[in-house]
């Protein structure tokens, strides 16, 4: 498999396709917000100290009486300019708040995806080279168990075993570690082990089955038989010829699973109190902080779209048949 250059046209086309989906997402979010009952000026309506004329003037000033498409337009414009509103609870701009929390989430998600891939590829390939063997059946059973276990339950069980019974790992993620040098990094790694494991195992379980079926699809192709008949060792046929081709759809799947990973990240962040955007979403929902809720939902939707784009470009880069179609 030779890596070739992706044509610029292909990338630009994919970038342009991204715009309608981002617009679509913003329409869905705005429609939800607009359909939801509740008026920001309700409080003023019941306050006798505010005369009705003042209320009407305020409504006109903030554009609440405008037709819906104009309100959407203003909202979208503010969103694009980075004006995401102000958090009532944290007393800071929503964009600053999200930017503070986002790196932690990305690190946890990235580490758990790497863990999932590291587990899934060898297990899936081994299972596919010996279909219906004992190993295959055990791997399949564990994969089923892995994605039937809800992340919140695995998280609690891990806390129960490793923090409470064995007392090896801390179960609350702390951002204010005072240690310096190597100890600092060690503390960070120690507190990330459980959240990353929970997410990684869940993802890995789903990936194993996919890797297995993808390898099984490829292993019967003629070029693999050709490679074998040329006298290349079985091991080399698998690693050099089969796996390389079989992994192309897996790359796409890893990126396309991002929505599910985000759902898992929200739960794990909540269990382990990881200060990422997932726990920010939940805490701001429980404290009725609507600007933050809207901001986080939009950011996670955008991240998913971006990952879809990355998947498309990687796919075109790995598989020359795609880019020129």
């Amino acid at each position: 498999m030779q890596v070739h250059r992706v044509s610029r046209q292909y990338v630009i086309r994919k970038l342009l396709i991204m715009i309608p989906s981002l617009l679509g997402i913003s329409i869905v979010l705005f429609a939800l917000l607009a359909m939801a009952p509740g008026d920001p000026f309700d409080e003023l309506a019941t306050n006798p100290a505010v005369p009705p004329e003042v209320r009407a003037a305020l409504r006109a000033k903030f554009g609440l009486d405008d037709p819906i498409w104009m309100r959407y337009w203003h909202w979208l414009f503010a969103l694009m300019q980075g004006d995401w509103g102000f958090s009532f609870v944290s007393r800071m701009d929503v964009s600053t708040l999200i930017m503070q929390r986002l790196p932690v989430t990305l690190v946890v998600i990235g580490a758990s995806q790497i863990l999932a891939i590291v587990i899934a590829i060898p297990v899936g390939v081994l299972a596919a080279t010996r279909p219906y063997s004992l190993f295959d059946q055990i791997a399949n059973t564990f994969a089923f168990i892995g994605f039937s276990l809800p992340t919140f339950f695995t998280g609690l069980v891990l806390i129960l075993v490793f923090s409470i019974q064995l007392d090896w790992l801390p179960f609350v993620y702390r951002a204010d570690i005072t240690a310096t040098g190597w100890a600092f990094y060690w503390e960070h790694i120690k507190q990330s082990i459980m959240p990353v494991t929970v997410l990684g195992l869940f993802q890995g379980a789903a990936l194993v089955r996919f890797v297995r079926s993808s390898v099984l699809d490829v292993i019967r192709l003629d070029y693999v038989t050709t490679a074998r008949s040329k006298g290349i060792g079985e091991r080399k046929v698998i690693t050099r010829h089969v796996v390389r081709t079989a992994l192309i759809p897996v790359v796409t799947l890893v990126a396309l699973q991002m929505p599910i990973v985000f759902s898992g990240a929200i739960v794990t962040e909540q269990i382990f109190r990881v200060p990422g955007i997932g726990s920010l979403l939940i805490t701001s929902m429980l404290s009725n902080d609507t600007p933050v809720v809207m901001g986080v939902t939009f950011v996670s939707a955008c991240l998913v779209v971006v990952f879809n784009l990355i998947a498309d470009i990687l796919y075109g880069w790995l598989d020359p048949r795609i880019a020129f179609r």
């Binding site: 309608p20 989906s21 679509g24 997402i25 869905v28 979010l29 939800l32 917000l33 359909m35 939801a36 009952p37 509740g38 279909p131 059973t141 089923f144 168990i145 994605f147 039937s148 276990l149 809800p150 992340t151 919140f152 339950f153 609690l156 069980v157 806390i159 129960l160 409470i164 079926s213 099984l216 991002m258 929505p259 599910i260 985000f262 759902s263 929200i266 739960v267 909540q270 269990i271 979403l281 939940i282 929902m285 429980l286 809720v293 809207m294 986080v296 939902t297 996670s300 939707a301 991240l303 998913v304 779209v305 879809n308």
Partner: protein, 275 residues
């Protein structure tokens, strides 16, 4: 494996449905003398921090969790089949638009969207339908409304190939109306894979409901479901681990059994698939 799972699921269903007839302890009887106790004869699964009996709470919670699972599946499959059938029968612009919407929904992050809708609409729906009914309707609608996409794509793909088959053509030649073609000829033949997806959707919906309740945005604590019992239990993990382990294992076993059944159905309903 699928048969064994069907047996396990049947056992859980029977326990949940017939349980209240056999185990008559009320779900909200508070007894501080017996709080946070482990399993015993008086309370086979122990008690929670208010001394409420966990067995009866889990039986009651199981009814809600499983009911939500099935109801959300029905909603998802209904919309999925509807969208897929319309898209599959009408090629061209309608098809393209429907598939664009489907892809858009597929690329939305599901849990944040679920949480957002519940966050925005929780209070008004509660006002109309009461605490428990409101939460039930809202959760079912939202889970069903965000899970119809895979069924829609599947049904569309089935329709695209089935509508060109000879037997449909024969029906068309005999003057069958479009609706009759769809309901009498195409849909029954497209149902196999849809049943598999429906089974797996039940499992996913149960997990989604438990996740929402666990995060504190599903059913309130005074309505026990498996997820909300687990949420209350998570702060007492060190002194009362049984409280969290029982509901968690019930969710796990139910979901695992449903997934195995779905896998068995896939093998049974799709003989062409070799893998």
């Amino acid at each position: 494996m699928a048969l064994f799972s069907a047996f396990a699921l049947g056992l859980i269903l029977f326990g949940v449905l017939a349980g209240p007839l056999i185990w008559r302890v009320p779900i909200n009887e508070i007894d501080f003398a017996a709080k946070l106790q482990g399993p015993s004869w008086a309370h086979p699964l122990g008690t929670d921090d208010l001394g409420q009996d966990l067995l009866s709470r889990l039986i009651y919670g199981g009814r809600i969790s499983i009911a939500v699972g099935f109801a959300a599946m029905v909603v998802a499959i209904f919309f999925g089949v509807l969208v897929g059938a319309v898209a599959g029968m009408s090629s061209g612009r309608v098809d393209a638009a429907l598939m664009w919407v489907t892809d858009l929904f597929l690329s939305l992050p599901q849990l944040p969207l679920l949480l957002l809708v519940i966050y925005l609409f929780r209070e008004p729906v509660k006002g109309v339908l009461g605490v428990e009914g409101g939460a039930f309707v809202l959760i079912v609608a939202v889970i069903g409304g965000t899970r119809w996409m895979s069924a829609a794509r599947l049904v569309r793909a089935q329709f695209l190939s089935l509508r060109e088959k000879e037997f449909v053509e024969a029906a068309r030649a005999l003057g069958a109306s479009r609706i009759r073609q769809v309901t009498q000829h195409i849909l029954p033949n497209a149902l196999g894979p849809v049943i598999v997806v429906a089974t797996i959707d039940v499992a996913a919906a149960i997990i989604a409901e438990s996740t929402l309740s666990f995060l504190g945005l599903g059913f309130p604590s005074d309505v026990p479901t498996w997820g909300s019992v687990l949420r209350d239990a998570k702060d007492y993990l060190d002194i009362a681990p049984h409280w969290a382990l029982f509901p968690g294992s019930l969710i796990f076993i139910t979901v695992l059994a449903i997934n195995f059944i779905g896998d068995g159905l896939r093998d049974a309903l799709d003989p062409r698939r070799v893998l």
